[in-house]
Assembly symmetry: C2
Homo-oligomer: 452 residues x 2
């Protein structure tokens, strides 16, 4: 019977901890995957979590350390001595995880930990990995891989694999290199098994291999691996020497995180909000965009109050303020998120900028016309006032046009200046279009009612 | 030198096609991955794409068929005879892809195609797969896998693999079964290579294997594979017999598609909008939510016009209509998207419903208080009118409170009734909160100005 993470089972563990039942807790933890232990620990108090953590052996403890949320890990590592971090955690980790953890430490502690690592090769690997930009292929790759020389036979290769395999958890491919360590191709384990043992590697490896440079951006790596369904991809330096490999699980995490970030941005949330977050953490994530919304609203009030006389004379104008604002906001969010998503999906877009703009303008013109006609018809049949009918329809037409164009252009401009285009979605574009819509509407209204 | 998909190269291909240079085009296509050919074809006219397609051999043609967008594929298959579909495409495909393609055909054509398939085992596999729900583990799994009996030795196992391996593109794990085909565990190729050839499989396989039932929902499968970083997962029936396997690339696609769908929903876009889409396709995707926005705006106009007298008397009330509407909308979208994301991420949430509601209410109360105080201070110092100051602050307080609660509760209720909670994000919640905010604001305003 497998242990499941339910409320009852969490309470059971809490009971066991309260009664200091070390053996029972250890036995439960031994049956659990590191990802599950991390999940259990999130539902416990700090002291309870510490109790569990101290029972884990080195291998498991370092696996769990990778799984717990970044902030918890940082807080936790702060209270531990450098030699403990090195011997209990780092030495049990793959180089990519080890480098990530070391990178999170203060610079002073980093040096201490690196010097405490017993295996000089491992320390060297970590130092090498820390040289790369955090979000480049070099920064996310692992050094653990199986590489064999192209001149070996399968038999010799199998021996080589035995000696290298101890460090590598999962072998997806064997990388074939030449005497200068340049990557020549890959060899699947399937081919290795299915061929005769005295066949030369050079005869059977696949030279048509996708690879990325250590400088490649994480987005680019994810795009390539997703497009070609690669379980792992080799990373090479500028002269083609094999430096490391990136595996599919990094891509899944990256795709998920990017998507969450963009989603939160368009929803007006900054930073990562998770179910377990404290009240003030949720508050902090929601505050900035609401403040911008408030300032936009105040600006709107200023615009309207400077037109107080007109509004007093033609109160009907006020009726359609929410409609104009809402439509401008909605159209703007739609346009901007279409642009953001096409940028994020990394689709190599062969439409020229001019063709793209023509298309956007067509969509905007059509949308504006359709909704202008709809609101014109509504007002024509329900409002006695033709001036109001003209004002609202014409304003809506212009507002939709402007909202589409701004929604499309602003993220494109931000992206050109290497600023995250997702910033221009959600509350930002809504607030901007609210104000703009008000200005256009009031001006046109005053024009039709002869108040200018 | 690798062929890159640039505007120049697309034009080069178009030239070659125009001049009927079959050999040159074939040679370029032979060097390209199926995913790249599909990308090239999207940038060509239908006739040009057809020209290329007819040059591809069966293996490549069926790989490309899988890569092109669903709608294009459906249109394309409609014009082909059943025996051609069977022999040119289906017979070269893995069972999961084959079942997907067959499922897209009209029922009549399905039967014809299935009967045209030469390999009866393959036809049987496809029929089996079509039995499962489309978004269940059974519906996405492939039948191609390597399974060996636990009683074999490594040597016998290697022979068995040789005979089975022809059908399987990639071997990530070998599945170990007993005499009744029940899944006992997995064996990595690494272990197979590193152990002696007369070792029994039963001695070295790993029995601690994550598996899913054929009925498991796709979300659940993705969650498990992501959590435990699995490259593939075996699928079993109710009595534990091995039925198929699901690989990581399905999970990446699923995670990406789910995220895109939620993102488009919160942005007010229905359906999938892609860079290459035609003007009317973009229009159709944007129309529904804009129409709802328009109806909401009209409803707002009705609410305001029924308060025409009050607005004439106290025109200042109109100034803060955009502010109230914007804040209600923003808060609502934030709340709903936090709920939607926590549902989508599939985090097993151990907070009880009562604790969750207490937390939401705390966040809502704090947010409402902070922004009520901010707008009170602003109005206190800039507006002479204390009635207006009171009205706006109190309304804002209540509107934020309501917007938070609706934003939180509506997606939760939808989810309970098995309706996609993402429906309650974006324009829906914005429009609803706009109207609600207006009603609250006007009532409180009339109260303070003694107009009730």
């Amino acid at each position: 019977m497998q242990f499941e993470i339910t409320k009852e089972n969490i309470e059971l563990i809490q009971d066991l901890i309260a009664n200091n039942k070390t053996e029972e807790v250890t036995s439960i933890m031994n049956d659990l995957h590191a990802a599950d232990i991390a999940e259990v620990m999130e539902d416990l108090s700090t002291d309870e979590a510490k109790f569990i953590y101290l029972l884990l052996d080195g291998e498991k403890a370092s696996d769990v350390l990778i799984e717990i949320p970044d902030n918890d890990r940082k807080r936790f590592l702060k209270i531990l001595p450098s030699d403990f971090i090195a011997s209990k955690f780092i030495e049990h980790m793959d180089s990519d995880d080890a480098a990530d953890v070391v990178a999170e430490l203060d610079e002073e502690v980093q040096k201490e930990v690196l010097n405490e690592i017993g295996d000089i090769d491992q320390a060297g690997d970590i130092v090498d990995l820390l040289e790369y930009e955090e979000d480049s292929a070099g920064g996310i790759m692992a050094k653990e891989l199986i590489a064999v020389n192209e001149n070996l036979t399968i038999a010799a290769c199998l021996k080589e694999i035995s000696s290298q395999a101890e460090d590598v958890d999962e072998i997806y491919y064997i990388y074939v290199i030449d005497d200068t360590e340049k990557l020549k191709g890959i060899l699947s384990l399937k081919k290795l098994i299915l061929n005769h043992t005295n066949t030369k590697i050079s005869k059977i490896y696949n030279a048509d291999v996708k690879m990325v440079n250590t400088d490649a951006r994480q987005e680019e790596v994810a795009e390539i691996m997703d497009k070609y369904d690669l379980v792992s991809i080799p990373v090479v330096d500028d002269i083609g020497r094999l430096k490391g490999r990136i595996t599919f699980d990094d891509v899944i995490d990256f795709v998920r995180e990017e998507a969450e970030r963009d989603y939160q941005m368009v929803s007006g949330i900054t930073g990562d909000v998770e179910p377990g977050d404290k009240v003030w953490e949720v508050l902090r994530a929601r505050f900035p965009w609401l403040l911008i919304g408030l300032l936009g609203g105040i600006l709107g009030a200023v615009v309207l109050s400077s037109n107080e006389e007109s509004l007093k004379t033609v109160t009907e104008l006020a009726f359609f303020i929410p409609l104009i604002a809402a439509m401008g906001g909605n159209v703007g969010v739609q346009s901007s998120s279409i642009v953001v998503q096409s940028i994020a999906s990394g689709v190599k877009d062969l439409e020229t900028t001019s063709r793209k703009i023509i298309k956007e303008v067509s969509v905007a013109l059509l949308t504006a016309s359709i909704f202008a006609v709809l609101i014109f018809s509504y007002n024509f049949f329900t409002q006695g006032n033709m001036n109001l009918t003209y004002s609202v329809s014409l304003s809506l037409f212009i507002v939709i046009l402007f909202a589409s164009l701004f929604g499309t252009l602003i993220p494109m401009v931000l992206n050109r200046f290497k600023i995250d285009p997702a910033l221009a979605t959600g509350p930002f574009i809504t607030t901007m279009n609210d104000i703009l819509g008000l200005l256009i509407y009031l001006m046109i209204g005053k024009l039709f009612f002869g108040l200018l």
